[in-house]
Symmetry: D3
Subunit: 286 residues, 6 copies
């Protein structure tokens, strides 16, 4: 089960902004050629390489905004691992609408599918382990909701959506407050009573101090596997544990073997190439 897809009242303003960015003052060629008679056309979204498809609900939202006469037919389920040449969706409607929505739809679909595909690769490495993969706040500005959704489609979990989702106490906060204990105390007093607190730790002493404060999550930052294993044992389920810092596809299994609950990485977003997808048109009624 994945993170729910954003509601239109939240998503549509972004989609409109992105269409306006692509159109500027209008589509010179398409509006000139199809603006008046609006022949009907059919477009086929085709995967050109194997991967995990993510973002299919966007197709309907985007075309709904452009022209409500466009009909969208999904051919696979969101999150399916598809071979190259898979038809993932078909759209039918006025040629002008189909062409004017093409680029923004593909740009989103390709990027999100790239993220889901990369996430799936990470998640598969963790199969059989109880450790879960989570994302970070390293997301492309403007796309956080959608990129985190794509991580979830790929099989990852979501960490904070923003600075208000939980209080993350990092080294600078601790330095400023004087100690983990003091930082947690002061933060606790100023945030919603059920907002979770996560503390970043680098040593076992810090882990112990965070544990004493009763925080919800303890981040084990840049620890060696043996140290992390000790930390996980020390915590013993009294807080969630999150491994963070420079973890790669190669080191994933070693880190998971420490028994840590969560491994966070930005790589599923920041190192994911776009999946190659095209939209092939056929004018149906000229």
């Amino acid at each position: 089960m994945t993170t729910p897809f954003p509601h239109p009242l939240i998503l549509d303003p972004l989609l409109i902004q992105w269409l306006q960015e692509d159109w500027g003052r209008g589509d010179r060629a398409t509006q000139a050629l199809f603006g008046r008679d609006t022949p009907l056309a059919q477009g086929t979204f085709l995967l050109k390489e194997a991967g995990v498809i993510a973002g299919l609900p966007l197709i309907e939202r985007i075309y709904h905004l452009i022209d409500q006469r466009v009909e969208c037919h999904l051919k696979v389920s969101e999150g399916t691992t598809c071979p190259a040449r898979t038809v993932v969706a078909v759209v039918e409607g006025p040629a002008q609408a189909l062409l004017m929505g093409e680029r923004v739809t593909l740009n989103l679909l390709q990027h999100l599918s790239g993220v889901a595909t990369m996430t799936r690769r990470y998640v598969e490495r963790l199969a059989g382990s109880k450790t879960c993969l989570v994302d970070t706040r390293k997301t492309t500005p403007g796309l956080r909701l959608l990129e985190k959704y794509a991580v979830s489609v790929g099989g990852g979990l979501n960490h904070r959506f923003g600075l208000d989702d939980a209080a993350m106490i990092k080294d600078n906060h601790i330095l400023a407050a004087g100690s983990i204990t003091e930082a947690v105390k002061r933060v606790r007093a100023q945030i919603p009573f059920l907002a979770p607190i996560e503390v970043e730790t680098e040593t076992l002493d810090q882990v112990q101090e965070a544990l004493n404060c009763g925080v919800q999550v303890i981040m084990l930052d840049n620890m060696t596997a043996p140290l992390m294993e000790e930390a996980v044992k020390l915590i013993a389920g009294h807080a969630h544990t999150e491994a963070s810092g420079g973890i790669t596809l190669e080191t994933l299994e070693t880190v998971a073997a420490t028994g840590v609950d969560y491994i966070s990485t930005s790589a599923t977003i920041t190192r994911a190439p776009w999946l190659d997808i095209s939209l092939d048109f056929r004018t149906t009624a000229l």
Copy 2:
């Protein structure tokens, strides 16, 4: 010389939107710990891997929006190829402001530097050739201005910024109009008189027809190198020529050898991993 950096009246609304996305209802930890006394701090933007830095003017814009007391000092020039461990900028000001701007600034800086770095790799392959590298409209929604700016910082040129920048007549348009000649005629009559027209061609016949129409740019789409070479000769400088379609770092030189003017690729944006950059803090006046 690069594409000019966007004016604040155009850029600031996007930056504000992105900060709001990251903050949600506020920075729980930072506002709790630094909200009242606002100690001063210093932050150092540090490259953690070698690459081309792009986006430095963003640092000042973002911190100006958050707190006008923050001072930004750039340590390298935009577009410099830097070794790992280069300090690219230093910011000084209230700790709360520095921390609240950290993530959005880094997300942009890392992504744009990744694009510039990838572009530089492509551009260097074309050194000694008269062929130029250009981008496409495959850009991350919301980031087109900045990603195209980053391509330019990396040494590439910019193609259309939107569907209104020029009229690009593609296969579907030609099909719908009946012929290249008819499509160009109809488009020409409905666009600003100085808007350029580019026509997508796949055969020498199409090239000849486009040439006859007096279009400004002829795209040679997915042609083999020998065919492209013939096309370039046929055009003989009477229109700009643009090679497009599945060109990779490996095939770049072969394509350039055909004498084509421009090679367009989306890979400098869609396949560029983020460059690793961190912001290291030091509280200066607790």
Copy 3:
């Protein structure tokens, strides 16, 4: 320590909208009389009845937006319980600016101080008990950030700021899912990994089931004091407990005596009359 005051990048768009609502096409009388010569004036914010002052930082933000020459001097600390006739702030600057900001500033200050005053009355009843008072999502549309801030100034804690702050599983959700266990399982799988879950319960069986699911908060909804006491004992600190439903100033102490951690009420916002505050002007340089 209170909830941090919202950052200008979040608050200013609201303040601008509210000033525009009050001004329409402009202040007919003030702009006619003070628009050209801008005499200087002084305004004194005066409490006309005893209460807790909340919203003082708004004065500077609002006048900063109207005219940056206005200077604001706070005379008491945010959250102070003041007697009638207390001067809480003085503003100095162009008469036109002072008058055009008067109504919006007072409307906010009076309403927020009313909320803080009412909250303080509730909180004082809980003195000596370990039970904390929290607010709800029953807030005036558009004012949630500020009203929750005012509750915190009055001494209360904040519950969720929105539907995304935590997952609250209510009776309808349970009914739909078939059981608390199933509902928690499905929700857990689709929300950020550190998002807390709260479950609404009405019976001890439900309390036990929620407890078994390991949720963070158990709401004891409309329970009698004896039943609530049993529930609190059953939970025994393994989850936070929240009493909710029809609790009044009169029943507050009885409920607290059950040992429940939190009592939530909307009354501090929905039943709080505005505190009477005026802005008295003196033109200083005609």
Copy 4:
């Protein structure tokens, strides 16, 4: 007859903003449980205490914005004085939509009905008198249109909607201009020719001077009943008269007995507790 309900082109942007405030990044629990299968449900808006219902047209607007499949059935007329336990409206549609609109709809309905109920109490005291009750600009920021609408539903009349609706010349304006005569002259010359002017007066001399200026409304500010009676006689129908300043439910009849045309009070908004209303759900097709 009441003030017309705001047109959707004016109201919808506010409603969308308020829904976004409540949802943040989405409804964690509801979207997780109802996001995919969208069972149908029925919701009943139930008055839990006696009062005047106001804001019923909001129900349809809000649910129309969330999901156009929701159907709304009003069971009583706007402005009806209802006993406790009255069903005022029923909504039917996808469970997710009903739940996601619940809180904002209720917050508005409860607050506006509270205002209408309080206004009705004031207005009833004036029954048999020719004096009308009017509101002021002391309204909750962002809600002025709706709160003034609610006052009208309760039986009151509306004063200015904003600073541009009429020119209100207050003591500070008079002081600055030197005299009522000079102030009226200067304001008259700079406002739309049919914009009414109201002057605030505290003495009979001021009343006489305002009368001489031919203003449309004379405010009798903080006058004793005998003084006000003299003022009303002096004015003798040559201008509208408005009593203002500290008038309570208790003093209302005494003031009306002076023969004044209008009594303005902010109490119908600033001292009105929310009316208790709930939305009871029943899932109809699980």
Copy 5:
């Protein structure tokens, strides 16, 4: 004395929108040539034909938004009738800023000065008469505040700024209600108590009926001069009188001779050619 110039909180959003319209993605030539070194320059606003200057305060607002280093020096007073070749203002600052603001500033200044010039011509025809010239709601969409301001600079008065400024009861309203009396009664009951009512009349019977209703303004629509004179006599000062319908510069004096209070015309806006103004640059520090 003129209508006050709009406050920046109301005007700036429009100015920003208009600059963005003119710039699109940026000023290709200027940003390329002046973007980096920002030489200083001086610009002179020069009237190229005689006329009334209006809109001078816009110069400072626009340049303030583009670059706060630009300094503006006004050389004549707003509303001055200037001969050709008058320098009305000088701006100094970075060349890029001056050039990027040129077109929008001139477009506004030329149009508003055109309106003021045309208005002055009408107003001068009424010299010696007690009749005033007023504008209408026939204004260019988006520019109503500024065009009405320009009418006032030219010597005219402003009629309604919008449909909410007063209730104008026209023939269709009367038809729908059954009679003027019924229409006025129903409107009166649903509008703010001090909102004026104007009724459109075409016959003396209608004038009499409107008079009986006690409305504030009676419009004498498309009446012949003799009929209008009778109407004015009938009304005898008990309501304002407004002549409307097809009045031209030529018929102005005849209409004024009827003794009517106001003559409304859209011609000062809809038939006013732009005044020719240029901005001459001199780069001061290359």
Copy 6:
């Protein structure tokens, strides 16, 4: 064939803004009289003077935004030269909707038809010549898309839509760069590779230099007819030629006789009086 009409995603935000400008807080008279029962009505758009109709598609867009039940029937084609008394369109639907959209629709229709009518007069003077008429960036702020559309309906062509559409190198740019050659070189390096460059010239030497730079368009600014003729011969088709500067209806043919490709003038917009159009109502179902 004309410039395509703007897509709703681009146009609707402007239309909504303009309706809100006209309505303010609502239509006092219409909402009071037609707000509740919504009788049906019919409105006829009637030309009251001869001219070219432009903007007909706006009628449907505006009424669609106000009330989707309104039906629009166009009676003539966009761009038709109509005699006085032509019915150009009929609208049917709720009376309230028809009345509330009247003013904004007429203001746009009258202004755009005025522009199209004036343009047609200019264009007709060029009949038989190969010279085309083009517009400029002297457009009413906020209305550029629509005014340029209206020019095209009248038979003119469009020049740049904004500063990003092409790089126009003017005298100040040349001065700053040192020479046309240097200016073109620097601009060429910083703009999209297919963006055209136009250079402003005043002498044959400048024309020759611009020609040598290979620019797309050479503007012949304020040249005498004989000089312009020489310039056109010199250029000999190697660049587009544009005559600019003080050209009037009277001098149009002389300028065209020089063989120049394009003549640009702002007069079709800045000197065009609105065409007189009315909307006549008939209530159909009272």
